[in-house]
Amino acid sequence: MNRRVLRGRLFILALGVALIYSLAGVGLLDAQKLARGLGNIALFSSDLFPPDAGVITTVAPAMVETLQIALVGTFIGTVVAMPLALLAMPILTNSAVAPGVRLVLAFIRTIPALLWGVLFVVAFGLGPAAGATGIGLYSAGYLGKLFYELLEGVDPEVVEAVRSVGCSRLQLARYALLPEAANGLLAQLLFMFEYNVRASSIMGFVGAGGIGYYMLGYIQLLRYDALLTAVLITLLVVIVIDWLSIRIRGAFLLHDA
């Protein structure tokens, strides 16, 4: 057996040991616990059906609020992320500023959206304003990284050619980097919006507005049939947004020769 094959088998063995250790750690090797859990799931599932249509008038406006949180949050995220992404490009700033900005973006990403929501509930009080700003800041961290990676991926020859005309750094961004990366930027923006619709759905768990507030309430009141209605409405909206995203991406797709 050669060294490469041996190394591969040792790696698979180590992975298997780590998995079994982790399964035991989270309690999923406990047969009694598993049997009890499966029984509870069956019971819970029977309580979900049929969905309670009577809560639609309550849940639908909350879903609209969730979409508003996602839209405003994505907008805030984009407005904050774009300048930061440009500052994170060494070609536009310098080798001292760019790593600093990347560090700030990494820090923003470290804190989960829900925790940003809690922080903004403290700042703005309960309600969708906290959710939108929380989602906005969280999105800024992610969009900033996605944007500067896209800008970095622009063909170096295009950058070199436009730089060679003697333009400023801002002109280079405006006339070479941003148009060349526009398709990718749009795709990431749509993806972020889709993600934010899902993230906004649970912002209500911490009192930051949206449909999550009702979902948490239905769980606490054991009203699983009403919870299913809220989940189905969320699912429907997410499917529609995914479909719209595909259509928008298709319309803007660059058919390169």
Partner: protein, 269 residues
């Protein structure tokens, strides 16, 4: 007639590159003892001497990896001067990194043209004029009407009048090359550097583009330096040719005074 490079004097530089002679220099670009390496010990240029006369088409021919692109990038200032001395448009650089100053006086067309694919033909042409514009105006106010008209006129003269609103990714190879040359001309440059330009184009398109360039060098005194690996291009259009092999200029000659066999032998040397 084939000409030899002047011998270096005791200070290591040729008589042509002396500072006192700059005002009268007939050369737009003159380099002596130019060496460049991308990594430790891997020299792409080795004590190269090179000169391009003002207002002429100079073609630099050589095999792949012979140092043609590196030479152009050093002249443009995209790569830092490491060793040697360069005089470009009467500015002399002899310290490491001193040449890294991008100016609109020198246009550079990279091998794959570097056009912004999602912009239109007109917008790409106009990017050539960015160095001439004030920052706030070009960022938020678009381009002045006179400049737009200038770009349209130039594009029309080169046969792209019908395609000014077309996105670049919809154009053919020859059309893209023409956009690149108009972008370069919108800089109002005194020197144009083109890397493997008009390669792999049909004869008619090549002739159209090269004739337009020749007209510009003759009428406006613009100097044009092009790298190529195509002998036919050199024999048909070069006023002057420099053959590069292993990072050195091994032959310099007037365009009409050199034959195919001499060039081929020099490239292989």
């Amino acid at each position: 007639m084939t000409s030899e490079r002047p011998l270096k004097d005791a200070t290591g530089f040729t008589g042509r590159s002396s500072v006192n002679a700059l005002q009268a220099s007939p050369y737009a670009v003159e380099a002596t003892d130019l060496s460049f390496s991308y990594g430790r010990g891997q020299h792409v240029l080795r004590s190269m001497d090179f000169a391009a006369p003002q207002g002429q088409i100079t073609m630099v021919i050589g095999a792949s990896g012979s140092g043609k692109t590196t030479l152009l990038k050093l002249v443009k200032g995209l790569l830092p001067l490491q060793e040697g001395r360069m005089t470009v448009l009467r500015k002399t650089y002899d310290s490491p990194g001193e040449n890294r100053h991008i100016t609109s006086e020198i246009a550079y067309i990279p091998q794959h043209l570097g056009l912004v694919r999602s912009l239109t033909v007109l917008q790409n042409a106009l990017t050539g004029a960015l160095g001439r514009l004030g920052l706030p105006y070009s960022l938020f106010g678009g381009f002045p009407h006179a400049l737009i008209q200038e770009a349209k006129d130039r594009l029309t003269r080169i046969g792209l009048g019908e395609k000014i609103e077309e996105k670049v990714y919809n154009l053919s190879g020859g059309e893209r090359q023409r956009v690149a040359i108009i972008r370069a001309r919108m800089q109002n440059p005194r020197l144009i550097l083109a890397d493997e330009f008009v390669s792999q184009l049909d004869t008619v398109t090549t002739t159209t583009i090269m004739d337009a360039l020749r007209e510009q060098t003759r009428n406006d005194g613009v100097t044009y330096i092009q790298t190529t690996h195509e002998l036919d291009l050199v024999l048909r259009f070069a006023d002057r040719v420099s053959v590069i092999s292993s990072g050195k200029v091994v032959l310099e000659a007037e365009g009409g005074a050199v034959d195919r066999q001499t060039l081929s032998e020099a490239i292989r040397s």
